[in-house]
Amino acid sequence: MKFTIDQNGYYGKFGGAFIPELLHPPVEELKEAFYAIKDDEDFKESYLNLLKDYVGRPTPLYYAERLSKKYDAHIYLKREDLNHTGAHKINNTIGQILLAQKMGKKEIVAETGAGQHGVATATVCALMGMECKVFMGEVDIERQAPNVARMRMLGAEVIPAKSGSKTLKDATNEAIRFWINNPSTYYIIGSVVGPHPYPEMVAYFQSIISEEIRTQLFEKTGKVNPDAVIACVGGGSNAAGAFYHFLDEQVDLIIAEAAGHGINSGKSAATSILGTEGVIHGSKSLLMQTEDGQIVEPHSISAGLDYPGIGPLHAHLIETKRAKVFPITDQEAVDAAFNLSRLEGIIPALESAHAFAILEKTSFKNQTIVVNLSGRGDKDLSTYMKFL
């Protein structure tokens, strides 16, 4: 495989572990534990059983007929929105909570942007009887109130991150600081970011998405591969999962990233265009920064994409031109959400709506494509209501 991680934790020139010495022991402990379970059949069985009976997998691969007609293509939706808790995030938290349990951990810390990862973490902590702390930016707490309530109802403590832009970047900083001060805690990262082995581990736990797509697509169409897979990228966990088994195949990998008010508006989160090489949250990747290497505060209407970096796997896919990126503005995402709602009766999460907006940007004439519908839109109703 050309796109797998090397022994030092790098995808090409991106990745690695840029962490203070204080974090070295817990990261090393995690690395050992992850590699011990990665090919362990018993672990895989418990993971798959929970995904089946608790999460409700496999999620359907749905042929969107009216959408297909509109865009003159064969469009399949991977319905990650139908997972328990309403998004793909739980695939990863189920995997990591089982790992945490195996490591004898009692307390979990996590960061969250839109709150989907926070809810998915709070959920698995309740399931396993573990203590759960979730850092969430103050701005996000306000714009994602229903998810905050869900986390609290599930017994998690939601701690506002008050530094910087008070969004996902800062919630991640605070979670990492908490981990430094409490190294026996298990830190469940929600995306394919962070120091090695997190990007690899989260991609691995999300790879169930493309594993299912392959089987389901073959059953439905007799095709081994679609022509293209489309997914949105903030940090990039749903895209990593949707791309995983197609990385070395003849499949176009297409990324939607959040352009906010527009690439040159100063209010954007389009990392692949505005970003340059640097180190963020423990790994080398592309990130939005000033000339002086200070991290820039991003903007997106979608809290889950409001992140100034991108996972190192995606930086590598973009750098090598393996993946193609389309910047999608806030308005285009909202339009795509209304379009999907009215054509297919599915209200997508604002994050996922960015992926659908790509259908307006380029032609997929007669192609078979899969759009990863990473989450449902209930949490975004207060935003959507402004456009009704």
Binding site: A17, I19, L22, G164, R177, I180, Q289, G293
Partner: protein, 264 residues
């Protein structure tokens, strides 16, 4: 000879190193703060290069970094300030900061300017010894700017050996698993860790940092090691408007008047 090595040749106990954030509280305070620290008997300074997202730092250094950035602090300004310091002082200077701004500046250019401006060492907490070996060692060696690694009570023996092999000035021993700026007393367990560290065979001086905030904790650092590093406590004293002479006097456990007498 590197000024840090020179210092430890002359002085092997009670070494007092102070961390300050460059460009804090005002952009042009860096030079006079360093000179004043030296006049008041501080042996070495660590100048913090502000970063927007300082992962290993507690609130005090986070906020001083943000103020410095709002003041317009940059790496180029810092190099000019260091040149100004060097016109008047030979105090050992260590630059401390996160890797991203240095990487963005260009590591090679950065190291070249460190060499030219008279910087004696670097602390970049998020370059691990593994990354150093893998990608950066040759550049640091080319420009002879020594990198100081952090060692914590939880650093394994094997890693500590590696770190020792790559160190040439001093070892930065972190007193506890925490972010910077803690003000509690050292626990009995920590004292056992310090004892253990003291008994290690190390051919380099050791300075202890993190949690050194008053004369008592500084004295503990000096009892076990060659000296101590004070960071957040100094930043707090700047914020409170306390004079440097009073702050250093308090840390060293000597009365202000005596410090005044000595410097006069």
């Amino acid at each position: 000879m590197n000024r840090i090595n020179q210092l430890f040749k002359q002085k092997s106990k009670d070494v007092c190193s102070i961390f300050l954030t460059a460009g804090f509280p005002n952009l042009n305070d860096t030079v006079k703060t360093v000179l004043e620290l030296e006049q008041n008997g501080v042996d070495m300074v660590e100048i913090g290069m502000p970063f927007s997202d300082p992962l290993a730092d507690g609130e005090t250094i986070q906020s001083s970094s943000l103020v410095a950035l709002e003041n317009g602090m940059t790496i180029d300004i810092l190099f000019r300030q260091i040149l100004a310091i060097r016109e008047q002082s030979q105090i050992p200077i260590v630059l401390m900061g996160y890797f991203n701004p240095v990487f963005k500046y260009g590591l090679e250019l950065f190291l070249k300017k460190c060499e030219l401006s008279g910087v004696d060492g670097l602390i970049i907490p998020d370059i691990s010894v593994e990354e150093y070996e893998l990608n950066y060692k040759s550049l640091f060696e080319k420009y002879q700017v020594p990198l100081t690694f952090l060692v914590t009570p939880k650093t394994s023996t094997a890693r500590f050996e590696k770190i020792k092999n790559h160190s040439s000035t001093f070892i930065y021993y972190v007193s506890s698993a925490s972010t910077t700026g803690k003000t509690g007393e050292f626990s009995a367990e920590q004292l056992i860790d310090f004892e253990q560290m003291k008994s290690e065979e190390i051919n380099l001086p050791v300075l202890m940092g993190f949690g050194i905030h008053d004369s008592k904790s500084f004295k503990t650092a000096c009892n076990y090691f060659e000296g101590g590093i004070i960071g957040s406590a100094f930043i707090r004293s700047r914020k409170e408007g306390k004079s440097i002479v009073d702050f250093v006097g308090e840390i060293k456990g000597i009365r202000t008047e005596s410090v005044l007498r000595r410097t006069n």
